[in-house]
């Protein structure tokens, strides 16, 4: 049944949040301006203000100025800060999020995109896929935004040439595939002139798919949270009116009065006596998204940051987190350092024990394994050790409790997705370091720096790796102490790997294959002589 047709007027539906992303200057803000303009949603006054500014600047009417409202943005013709604006089609309401394309403002792009349910990736038809096109797409995939539409813009500049459109979309689709995303539609547009945005264009007779507006309406609300396991992170405990209320927002699933519950990581157990939503002090249930006050049947001691869950369907109380992280700090993320860690309503201190992979999200190039640093706007696979157990899910199971931020000097600098967790009970698992053929990609050799590994290690190598080491390819390893070096010895013994080593002040250098210290050291420049 088509609900919208049965309505005399469009209802106020929960809005869908759409982020517009893409390389700098490819036309994100212009597209939003066009969408508003062609649906008559720009107030007359606002339009007059933009006209005045453009006249003063001596330039034609700039649709992007609807979003780019700051003086600095208009002077430099670049979006600096993300903006949200509300828009409604005949089907439903939208929050349209404009993201800046300039690399310098990536943190603002992430801020905007982190709230989105779906995305439009804009690519300039003339310029094609560029660095930030790919970087933004990668960030979408990390954020778990899987509904994506590709809009190829500025086709007026290439005479609405179908060949050009096909070439650009092939490129973009190829990249999306490589990061696990599929575009729902590929739309040829001119944001400035309004082709296929709201109005169907006559200049793209070869195209029969939806316009941008139609594509928006085809997105579906991304709220699966209700279907996921019930979780309520405890935000605070209020002791007023002779009551002890545990307040928080149900992040997933549904909690009901009378449910037996367990709190993680403490493991304390009780039963829900009442669910309060003032002025109502007894609602029967609360679903994902609802902020409530919970009263329990027992006087248990629960701290803010714990997660309330059904007795037999709990999150992990994790001490070790394996994650994908994107870093937004000007100062690099450093292995071996501690950062603030926030997940759900919990805080902890996390040590970066390893940056297992350092990746450039624009080229998808694996830059380094076991790296010391992750630079601004890079992405990495990292391992964190927490100073105390914290309740968390994997991102795949439950995004709301499977994503975290890293904080440095009080400010959020990184966003992460939990890939897997190790539980608090039992010994810390052995860390497995995988050595595979990919490590040998660089003909000048590769350094695997394991100086941050202090615990139990296990090395695992694949056949290609071993064969190529025996054939004389160069690879160096560094260890800080005897324990990890011992693990290496076991491995070398087992696989007949030739090596030479040198003990130094702060650890051990190992050269696999032919012993050639001098050239090794010259290559890696780091540390005292032999």
């Amino acid at each position: 049944m088509d609900i919208s047709a049965a309505m005399p007027k469009p209802p106020a539906e929960p809005a869908l949040r759409i982020v517009i992303v893409g390389h700098v200057d490819h036309g994100k803000s212009t597209l939003i301006g066009r969408l508003f303009f062609d649906t008559g949603a720009i107030p007359a006054e606002r339009q007059a203000e933009i006209e005045r500014t453009c006249q003063a600047q001596g330039r034609p009417f700039e649709l992007a100025y609807l979003m780019d409202a700051l003086e600095e943005e208009r002077e430099q013709n670049v979006t600096i800060e993300t903006t949200q604006t509300r828009f409604r089609s005949s089907r439903r309401g939208y929050v349209i999020i404009d993201a800046p394309g300039h690399r310098e403002f990536l943190k603002n792009m992430v801020t905007g995109a982190s709230e989105a349910d779906a995305a439009i990736l804009i690519v300039d038809g003339e310029e094609g896929v560029r660095e930030q096109t790919r970087r933004h797409a990668y960030i979408l995939s990390l954020l778990g935004i899987s509904q994506v539409v590709i809009a190829v813009n500025k086709l007026d500049r290439v005479g609405f040439d179908r060949g050009r459109f096909d070439a650009v979309t092939a490129d973009a689709v190829h990249f999306l595939h490589s990061i696990g995303l599929t575009a729902q539609f590929l739309i040829p547009i001119s944001a400035r002139e309004g082709d296929n945005v709201v109005r169907r264009s006559e200049r793209t007779h070869w195209y029969s798919g939806p316009t941008i507006l139609e594509a928006l309406d085809a997105f579906s609300p991304a709220t699966l949270d209700r279907l996921r396991p019930p979780r309520m992170p405890v935000q605070d405990v209020y002791r007023w009116d002779d009551r002890r209320r545990y307040v928080g927002r149900v992040e997933s699933g549904t909690l009901r009065r009378g449910d037996p519950v367990r709190f993680l990581p403490s493991g304390r157990v009780s039963r829900i006596r009442a669910i309060e939503r003032w002025p109502d002090d007894g609602v029967p249930q609360a679903s994902a998204g609802t902020c409530v006050g919970i009263m329990l049947e027992d006087e248990v001691y629960v701290e803010p940051g714990e997660v309330m869950a059904p007795l037999h369907d709990c999150p992990a109380a994790a001490v070790e987190v394996h994650a994908s992280l994107f870093w937004m700090g000007r100062e690099p993320l450093e292995a071996g350092r501690r950062y603030g860690f926030k997940i759900g309503t919990a805080d902890a201190s996390a040590e970066v024990v390893a940056i297992e992979e350092r990746l450039d999200p624009a080229s998808l190039e694996l830059k380094e394994r076991y790296a010391q640093k992750l630079l601004e706007s890079e992405v990495g696979r990292i391992v964190l050790h927490l100073d105390h157990p914290v309740a968390a899910d994997s991102f795949e199971l439950n995004p709301k409790l499977g994503r975290f931020v890293l904080v440095d000097q009080g400010v959020v600098r990184g966003g992460g997705i939990v890939r897997s967790l190790s539980l608090a009970d039992g010994a810390r698992p052995r860390r497995v370091i995988r050595l595979d053929g990919r490590l040998l990609a660089d003909p000048s050799g590769m350094l695997v720096d394991l100086r941050n590994e202090s615990g139990d290690l296990e090395l695992a190598a694949d056949e290609t790796f071993l064969a190529r080491i025996r054939a004389g390819e160069r690879i160096a390893l560094r260890f800080a102490g005897m324990r990890p070096f011992g693990a290496f010895l076991n491995w070398a013994w087992e696989h007949f790997v030739p090596f030479s080593f040198r003990r130094e002040q702060e650890g051990v250098w190992v050269s696999l294959g032919a012993p050639e210290y001098a050239s090794l050291r010259d290559h890696y420049q780091d540390g005292p002589g032999i």
């Binding site: 007359a44 800060e81 009116d241 931020v405």
Partner: protein, 282 residues
């Protein structure tokens, strides 16, 4: 299958309820997060519809109480009806009310005739700064909304001000997944914006649903009403016959004039609001 008129209106109501609940929940979450993270909080209450609706949500967040003081910046140019309304609500809702005023500037004859930019900065921004300094507030709740005006659309929910009160809008910290930045140094305070994501229409729909009392100046006296409340000399009513919340909503559906059209300080010169706000204006 088609819906009967009563089924249709039921569906409308349910969808609107879900929609307003989502806005409200987000606001409650922000309130509670701020309350958990900051020692010394206050809420700026302009007596307008936005901050009054926000105040209502605060009562929901804290089970009927408001666990921090409310600050009203009185420029001495406010309509007497606003002050009567303020005192009545403060009494009924048992609020701790602090009234701030830049007495020095007023004694020096500050007023809009000295220039609107100067007047707003002296009587509002500076009065607020004096209040914050005097009480050592670390977090201030403000009822601004993204849809009001361009520079507000660029705001974060938790938005730091430096020791000189300034907003560094060119380099704001990232804010994601409701993990807000709350740990700043001692010489700063943080502006907290619990209703940043609401629109003017949302506010009125919410006022209707919750039956929140609002200042009578919003309703037409038969010929005119105020759409936004400010200081008497710089804020003009516009012709309207809307005398109820329903009529106001119907009127807003039809109009394309922006909400702050009657607010003179917004239009004095280009980027006026951005400039005012970068200095610490609300």
């Amino acid at each position: 299958m088609s819906l009967s008129p009563s089924q249709t209106s039921e569906l409308h109501e349910r969808l609107e309820a879900e929609y307003l609940d989502a806005l409200e929940n987000q606001t409650i979450f922000i309130f509670r997060e701020a309350y958990r993270r900051f020692e010394n909080l206050a809420m700026l209450w302009s007596i307008g519809k936005d901050s009054t609706a926000m105040l209502w949500v605060a009562r929901k967040a804290f089970f009927g109480r408001v666990p921090f003081p409310l600050v009203h910046i009185d420029t001495s140019l406010k309509h007497p009806v606003m002050l009567t309304f303020r005192d009545k609500i403060a009494r009924e809702w048992k609020l701790e009310l602090l009234v701030g005023q830049n007495k020095e500037a007023l004694a020096g004859g500050m007023g809009p005739s000295k220039g609107r930019f100067e007047c707003c900065t002296a009587l509002k921004t500076n009065a607020l700064q004096q209040m914050i300094d005097a009480h050592g507030f670390k977090g201030i709740f403000l009822g601004i909304r993204r849809d009001e005006e361009g520079s507000r659309a660029k705001e974060r929910v938790f938005s730091p001000r430096d020791r000189d009160f300034q907003w560094n809008f060119k380099d704001q910290p990232p804010e994601l997944w409701d993990q807000f930045n709350t740990a700043y140094g001692d010489d700063t305070h943080v502006r907290i914006h619990p209703i940043l994501h609401w629109t003017e229409m949302d506010i009125w729909r919410y006022i209707r649903r919750e039956r929140i009392p609002v200042c009578p100046l919003y309703f037409s006296d038969g010929t005119r009403r105020y759409r936004s409340l400010g200081c008497v000399p710089c804020n003009s009513p516009f012709p309207s016959t809307a005398g109820t919340v329903d009529e106001i909503l119907a009127e807003l559906e039809r109009t394309s004039t922006p909400e702050r059209a009657g607010r003179a300080q917004d239009h004095e010169k280009a980027y006026m609001m951005q400039k005012l706000r970068s200095l610490g204006y609300m």
